[in-house]
Symmetry: C2
């Protein structure tokens, strides 16, 4: 029956992740991809609910850390970009004067940006004097306003965020949640008195991400991105990569330390305690619906999704069994549902007139963590049946319902975290090494498809290029957890604790 | 001191509403209008919080009535409009065949729509094959998808909603919340088996609006709009108008009965219980940030905003008094704040080092319903001081804090409702009457500026035009609460219970 149903639903095996993923997001009714614009899906209620639950976790973290929620306009007049272009010039000048080389990478970014946005040049029957674009991210609109709000050190730190739709004109293949053209986006932007303030913010962002990953039940690799992969205008960028089941890494969060680079471009100054004018130091922190993509990818299995309890739109489905044999079944189920709702759980009673097997498979596909069944015999024995989506069928006393459910959800989280840790350790392999011979640089072992390679690396940009070319993979950057003991750099042989990863990125 | 502070803040008298309103939305820090696109304000945290609290009330009503939340793409390909144009043709045909004349008004709507939207014709460096526009509302994108989801009567009713940003290229003068170009928008769209199902939905929508108005503490005039003011494609439109302090009416909600007109255009069909194919009957229900504009306009006074407790971002501000005289003050205030937070109130402790007068005026401007003060002497006497934003200073026993606050918030709501009712009765005047003489139609009395006129009216379209011309006002439509006893129609003299209003609309 199981096989029959699965075939009917058309869920591919998760071993074929590139087929499983696009199928399951529609079969589980998270999105509908038939909207007539590529890369712009319709969010169905079940998917939207999961996304808003992730947003709620984010908002709770923002409240804990005293960020305030704003909402900026979607449209950005093109002439505001002049200030960003000034930033480019500024960084060019920094290079000419021989200051911090991390400031040099803006050169070719100037025109690149405009290639990725949607343009509004017409309104009604008019051509606009100043073209506008749909925000791909909000540095420009926000930093246009910040100088109006910041006057003195008393106005700092300014800790803002918004959760909005952003747009990128993707030319690559689109994938639900992972690469889309209308993006459900979270962005925090902060301004501080000095570099130390921004440093502390970066540390806070790192902790926020760890808290979210804990609730979503999967680990990630956190790396300071290489210079060439740093966000334009950033001093440095830290990125959070999840290893998806096909071995490709998915960047689910980034936080950027801007130092005072953007502040200089946007003239974001304040008067310090000594009455001196200073430039602010800034940070940004971004996440998106990719977090939901990671939830789908990391936890699902051949039978469908598995939602981590904290973001499960439905945490427990209650199913009456053989209700026609006893008039007590339905009221008892309703009472249990009420008790659980009152305790704050997200609950659904499935009293549809379908055979139990069909219902089971529906809720398996949708990844509901717990299924509670109650029939006449259970009522007699004072028990109920609890099935965990992660596996296992249990009999519990009807008294103490809330504790049983709470415990089972905690065990579900622990099981998901344990599975994700195993998953990660299977994917992250030691780098086989590389050697110079007459034929040039040659790998000492095979680079398998769908693996992430860990290595000690302390070389320069061209050394990195050698490794990227030889493996066909890309550097994620300096892992924020370095090796405990120094190891030999894969290229130079120098001893280093710098831990890096080579991976195929989404 | 009061006068001095108010002058400093620059709040105009509310008697000059057209000056007061645009000033207060910025002085109370709801929005910042300095974003460089006219009609696109930046939502500041205080304003955004109020808006999301209104949204939360709406979402609770949607959940109560079993609507599900979706999120549709912002961009709409122009070619989808073909179906809307088909609707126009359909209605033309209906006229030619002499059916229901309410279906005739689509004629000139065809091209009108395109004059009000922002166009995306370019992405990156490419010109798009099919231009897209930013949704002004979502009939077209939604009804493109609905036929994919509705197959049989088991799929009905389909009750959807979303809360999103929409766009209108306004050419009229913009005003925060009231007339903007990026609109924070709520829209519910439903599909039913038959007209009775849609009728019931319209009744449900009417009740939802009344529930919201109750929480927001002001009344409204609910009218079935005249034919010429019906939403394109609707069978009939019901609109909810709030009388603002300048006497102009602000449409804050509308619900439309579409019958099967849109369903025919979008081919939205289902198989009924008898296996017959039928067209769905549809409704829509829209609200927007105008609801916040009405809250601001209805309840504020010369000292600033007054938030109805249900949507007040801060419900109680707690202020320590003379804390330097007793180390007990701050911990006691913190404990009271904790107790109130735990009870679900939105609370802020203001322990800034400012003189009390300055703090009072800040919170008056922001419209916080309650201000609680506690000093050393209050601690000794076991009391605290409570000031209501609607007026009055009270001394209460420190025990029973939660009940005292809960009661004071309820009294605030009642006071606001009472004031709004008085406000409404001041604005709505009996129509002075009109008579035919040699000089043509002449008003029997003066039409005062800033009033709404109530009248019995049972005339035809040209009778209505006479009245609109003579008064310079517009018909709101048939009030859903007709007169209890028949009265003479203002033009024809025929007895009728049809109650109508003439007003200047925003």
């Amino acid at each position: 029956m199981a096989k029959h149903d699965k075939a009917k639903r058309g869920i591919p095996s998760k071993d074929d992740f590139n087929a499983w993923y696009p199928a399951i997001v529609e079969i589980a009714d998270l999105v509908d991809k038939r909207y007539p614009i590529k890369g712009m899906d319709v969010w169905k209620p079940y998917g939207w609910k999961a996304m808003t639950l992730i947003d709620a976790l984010t908002r709770a973290e923002m409240e804990r850390t005293e960020h305030e929620e704003y909402n900026f306009p979607l449209l950005v007049p093109e002439d505001l970009l002049d200030k960003e272009n000034r930033l480019v010039s500024l960084l060019k000048k920094a290079r000419e004067e021989g200051v911090d080389p991390s400031e040099l990478r803006m050169d070719e970014e100037d025109s690149g940006f405009k290639k990725e946005v949607y343009w509004v040049k017409h309104a009604g029957e008019n051509e606009l004097d100043v073209p506008m674009f749909l925000r791909p991210t909000s540095e420009t609109p926000m930093y246009t306003m910040f100088p109006l709000w910041v006057r003195s050190h008393g106005d700092l730190p300014l800790k803002t965020y918004q959760i909005v739709n952003t747009f990128r004109y993707e030319t690559k293949q689109t994938r639900s949640f992972i690469r889309v053209r209308e993006i459900h986006f979270f962005e925090a932007h902060t301004a501080h008195e000095d570099q130390a303030g921004a440093d502390a913010q970066i540390a806070e962002d790192a902790q926020i991400v760890q808290n979210l990953l804990h609730d979503l039940c999967f680990p990630a690799i956190v790396s300071k991105r290489p210079i060439w992969d740093t966000f334009p205008g950033a001093w440095y960028s830290t990125a959070v990569d999840v290893v998806m089941p096909n071995g490709r890494t998915l960047q689910v969060a980034t936080y950027h330390h801007y130092k005072d680079q953007w502040a200089k471009a946007f003239d974001l100054k304040y008067e310090d305690v000594n009455g001196q004018t200073q430039f602010c130091h800034q940070t940004t922190f971004g996440m998106s619906e990719r977090m939901l993509g990671a939830v789908v990818g990391m936890h699902g299995d051949d039978a469908g999704l598995i939602f981590p309890p904290k973001v499960a739109p439905i945490q427990i489905v209650l199913m009456p069994v053989a209700a026609h044999l006893s008039h007590e079944v339905i009221p008892r189920i309703q009472a249990m549902a009420q008790e659980l709702k009152a305790a704050g759980f997200r609950v659904k009673v499935d009293d549809r007139d379908l055979r139990p097997g069909a219902k089971h498979y529906d809720w398996e596909i949708k990844g509901v963590p717990l299924r509670l069944e109650l029939g006449p015999r259970d009522i007699e024995s004072g028990k109920f049946v609890l099935s965990l989506r992660t596996g296992g069928k249990e009999f519990h006393e009807s008294s103490g319902l809330v504790d049983v459910i709470s415990d089972a959800l905690t065990r579900t989280e622990e099981e998901l975290r344990a599975r994700a840790a195993v998953h990660m350790s299977n994917f992250v392999q030691p780098f086989p090494g590389i050697e110079m011979s007459d034929a040039g640089w040659t790998l000492k072992g095979e680079i398998a498809d769908g693996k992430v390679y860990e290595l000690a690396f302390d070389g320069n940009d061209s050394d990195a290029e050698v490794l990227e070319k030889a493996t066909g993979l890309a550097f994620l950057g300096d892992c924020i957890e370095p090796f405990a003991e120094p190891r030999a750099c894969a290229i130079t042989g120098k001893m280093t604790t710098r831990r890096q990863h080579l991976a195929r990125m989404y």
